[in-house]
Assembly symmetry: C2
Amino acid sequence: MAETSTTTVGQSYGRLEGHAKVTGRADYIYNLRLPSMLHAKIHRSPIGHGRINSIDVSAAAAMPGVHMVVTGEDVKTVLPEPYYGPAFHDQPILALDKVRHFGEPVAAVLAADPHIAERAARLIVVDYEELPAVYDEIEALDSEAIVHEELKPAGTFADLKHLSGRRDTNVALDFHLRLGDADKAFAEAVHVFEHTFRTQQTMHTPFEPMVAIADVTHDRAIIHSSTQSPSFVRFELSRLLGWPESNVRVRTGHLGGGFGAKVYVKVEALALALSMLAHRPVRVAQTMEEQFYTITKHPSTFRIRSAVDDDGRIVGRKCEVWWNGGAYADIGPRVTQKSGFTAAGPYDIENIDIDSFALYTNRPPAGALRGFGIPQLVWAYESHTDIIARELGIDPIDFRKRNILRDGRPQAVGTIVEDGEFEPVLDETARRLGWDRPYDKGEGAKRRGRGVAIGFKASISPTTSSAIVSVNADGSVIVYCSTVDMGQGSDTAMAQIAAEVLDIPLDRIRVVNPDTDVTPYDMSTLGSRSTFHMGHAVRLAAADAKEKLVAMAEEIGMPEGSNAPLPELFIKKFGMRAGTIVGTANFKPDYAPTDPETGLSPNATPFWMIGATGAEVEVDTETGQFTILRMINVCDVGKPINPAVVETQLSGAAVMQLGFTTTERMILENGQLTNPSLADYKVPGIFDMPVIMENGMIEAEQHNGPFGAKGAGESGTFGVSPAIANAIEDAVGVRIAEMPITAEAIFRALRAKDGAPLEED
Amino acid sequence: MAETSTTTVGQSYGRLEGHAKVTGRADYIYNLRLPSMLHAKIHRSPIGHGRINSIDVSAAAAMPGVHMVVTGEDVKTVLPEPYYGPAFHDQPILALDKVRHFGEPVAAVLAADPHIAERAARLIVVDYEELPAVYDEIEALDSEAIVHEELKPAGTFADLKHLSGRRDTNVALDFHLRLGDADKAFAEAVHVFEHTFRTQQTMHTPFEPMVAIADVTHDRAIIHSSTQSPSFVRFELSRLLGWPESNVRVRTGHLGGGFGAKVYVKVEALALALSMLAHRPVRVAQTMEEQFYTITKHPSTFRIRSAVDDDGRIVGRKCEVWWNGGAYADIGPRVTQKSGFTAAGPYDIENIDIDSFALYTNRPPAGALRGFGIPQLVWAYESHTDIIARELGIDPIDFRKRNILRDGRPQAVGTIVEDGEFEPVLDETARRLGWDRPYDKGEGAKRRGRGVAIGFKASISPTTSSAIVSVNADGSVIVYCSTVDMGQGSDTAMAQIAAEVLDIPLDRIRVVNPDTDVTPYDMSTLGSRSTFHMGHAVRLAAADAKEKLVAMAEEIGMPEGSNAPLPELFIKKFGMRAGTIVGTANFKPDYAPTDPETGLSPNATPFWMIGATGAEVEVDTETGQFTILRMINVCDVGKPINPAVVETQLSGAAVMQLGFTTTERMILENGQLTNPSLADYKVPGIFDMPVIMENGMIEAEQHNGPFGAKGAGESGTFGVSPAIANAIEDAVGVRIAEMPITAEAIFRALRAKDGAPLEED
């Protein structure tokens, strides 16, 4: 799409929903109550892996005020195949036969009073036969504990025939990519480096916990849900029900955060089953604690090896990534594939081997979380890259620039890079850091260091977005799209696009909340895909409406160029203020399928997201305590639709990743999560912020994007973790290889470096 | 549209919403409660006409639990011009300066507890200066009581310049039609007949009373309303607010009856204003009593004169109709115009004068009610026609057939009749009555008689309906239209039309409830216009979707005729079950404007509704008590989309009109309504039903209709009242000229005929 001069697009309007949110009138599903609704509370597994011998619900059922107690076997009476999941149909609505992770839902109690339901849920007694369990992704490769004896791949995974049937491994999916001849490159290399990096399990922490209210009648299921994926939830529930999708309605309100936690089916299937059993509306609303048991970020182990020549050119790279998917696959297999292929980093390397494995363990399930696996990969490849540069005595920026991907070169997967501002992002990061200026690294106990890191991500492809743009007879406009505004400002961006195309003021445009009875299909709100995909769909739908308006004007003798106000046009056409002009579009980017043999694809993504971070830290060598003096986040954001909103996406993403880097960690002991609360699980607070934080946007047109735009919701996460680790090494000469980076870890590393054993060791 | 063979259209499917209704799960706005909602209760005028000197709300406001008391002056602080109405902006949201009818809303009390609001509303004290009042439409022509000193015509009435400005008359609108030379015809006529007939004030009695919940924030008004006119309510409230229509949302659920009561704005404007003042959602829900004060059926007086030649041909007819519109115009002026032009009946008369007057009085307002004035007209012209036949000694069927309109001839307004099955309807009525067989008229006190009557109606024109038909990726379909299903089965009919066009089973189609944020424009659900207008719009939108599906199939190499299932088509196009194909259409029938001089129009209606009734009665000459032994309703229904549903429309309409004919009457004493309850105002019960009731459908293709269909929701009302009056005259020789036809009226007429004075006279 050629660059054009715009009036509404490119301006920093305030968010459409801002006033409603700050005045407390915004519509959150968590606040919804329906007449005669029952509350569900869930009895959960206290163990990591075990066979269910029996469930005694008698005490719970006898409690006054309890309407019903439901087990997995009860669910089967209304939904005979009660397994769901986007990649595998592996997750039971309530546990059947066995439990596979601590916190797994085993039974549910329904009551009009949620407190009664909660107390009754504690009275359920389950007799388990404990089974061997596995929690570590490396141990899972070769464990006697087998989490799933059978796999049922879903939908687009169904062609992976090797996955189905009975199994004696915990590998859920393996992805392999081969480019050039890595073995040869390593055999001939001057320098070879190998490191292993690990990341921990964390959680999304949306402040509106997951919630669904199901209201099911004999041929109609209405699901009110704080979901990021209304179209997918409709699809999956209609599959469970065996009903046409038109009989299932999934609607959202505003979302109090999502971050990937609320994609695909989470609490909706349980609400559905319970409403069918109770013949009443049923609300399943999680507590903050319960979210820890529901979906998390993949822990990972990444062994990375590089072959480097004398000029500091990386000539070969071998990547082995093991993703700890927990007890149910959720979308983990896609993380394994779609993020896996970028595991070698944003470098122009001619010989690459990538092996990426999705593993089942007995942890709570892992799925999508802002970055979709990329921050785990960048953590490894940018720590590794920095180590190589330092060991070879090459400036880390210089070393990266010698190897960086540039437009016109193929990425590892075979797709030629276009509109990928890798080098400008790196340069701007260095410029803002003052990389070329002399740097005072401190003395005594307080030492300072600087580090940079750059990462990149493909968008999920090929996916479809559909939109409708309706023009009312008074010239006001309604935009229908299933993109969920969970705080990222998508409603405002879509309104700006429609206003731009139709050339009307923004305040005459409304964007309705996603509702599968109302808004057309969208794959999901994830992967920073909405601005690009739905942006195009809204642009095309608005253009379709515009075309119809022009045709109508010509038909009634008001030719184009007369610029008659829309209300006059409608009155002349319909004899009064009547009629609705409806524009519509489906958008899917061009795509050629991946080669099943090589894993190569000519257009694996319609655009690249690129983000770098520069960090300055000060470390206390006596305690390991550290302060982030500056954090600079620079991203290629295309041409932003709304620059102010895009900038808040960069800082929001960076701060979120900062929490995962320095403070957040789910701690399991014998499979039991010991810190499932915000008192014990530390999300960053105001005092954890960097002293100075800057956001830099490289505004470079994405030529195939709507008005030159691309997605930017995750890019701010990419470089944060390794930039901090690199800065710490720069400051005090120790390398932290496992997240989170804590004072204790630095202290231990400093002691180990000095050869001084720790007291308790 | 050429007749085609259909599979889904023309079949008698059960109603889509039937199961939800009988299981109590149907969605009625009356049942809706919103969080933090306040209930409004209304203080109403106890007099018919008076100036408001002062309103003392102190006692009400001081009552514990009362949130707020609101008067008309308060409303002006949020809506400076708080007058609404479809024809004139004459109706204040709450009374300003004066009250114009008993029961007019004067103030409202808001409370979380509706019982508190109700008690507080009784504590409001209003000081009135009573003004002269007028309640009769004939007296209103020349009364010192002037109901409105000023008129503000709205919208399409705004060009009637003579209506605006200060006034000294109660005529709100006068309509005149001149065809041929009636004066000459009368001067030359062999026979001249003149009669006057009257009808009483009645009410719609929807069993779900009118209700609206408004939820207004700083730039957004959401109105949940049991309205028949979501598009109009949006239009009118956006006008009151000065906001774009996209900022106003009006949604409905199922309606528990409408019958014209719930067209245009009723309680919505008050709910809107109260929510703006309270900054909370506010519910205005009427009791059954309050509906009597809100909207009614026009009382009327009709002086009709006919000039008849020796062959029994009516050569001239003069009609003067006075419509008692009550205190506010509502849509009464349209009744005056649009029904007025058919006042001469379904006869081929070459010289016609029609004068039709809308009058303001101090009665509760009158508006649309199933038939839109036609039953009042048919009451007069078919009583009159029957009297003529009897006086001339011509068989009443024969007399009608000598004069009946036939295809190719112009109706009075100048529109050539097409697809008007007048004669077949009359013939079928006679056939079912056994008109040609000998008839036992009884003896002694019990006398039997037979009567027929035929009426007709134009559809409201030109009006627009818009529809969207979306095809989901699994091949299921959602139909979006703002036609309100209030029991008439329109959802089922629209689904059948979409299923027919798309060639898919009916159970894969969903019709969503009207919601201006969701469903496109429709003029309103009234005037039996939906099957024709929205039927066309849905047909065209489905055809548009079908065309896009065919284009998509061709694009991806699945040519038309391959008949690939829709899900395969979407998967091939979008790579997975993705996308939405959206068809859309606006439909407005051809129309040339009415000649402002003559009142003539070449296409005043896109189709004619025709209905006849045959009645057999038995009258007790000693008491006047009568029994309807048989009632036969025969209508031209075009080609019915769903014959079973159409038949229930015929019987429902006939029974409703039977109530207006024999039992229902609003009784005013000094302007005060004395029977505003279902205990005192008698709607027909099961024992009031005819002993035998038959419904006959003349299925004749309406060539310009969707699949040959036309509207039929009102046709069953037309002939009922005069058929019964005619049968009574046939039985006992007395003519009842004023509705309702009661035992007392017959008794009095019998006594008068015998010359025996009644005791109390």
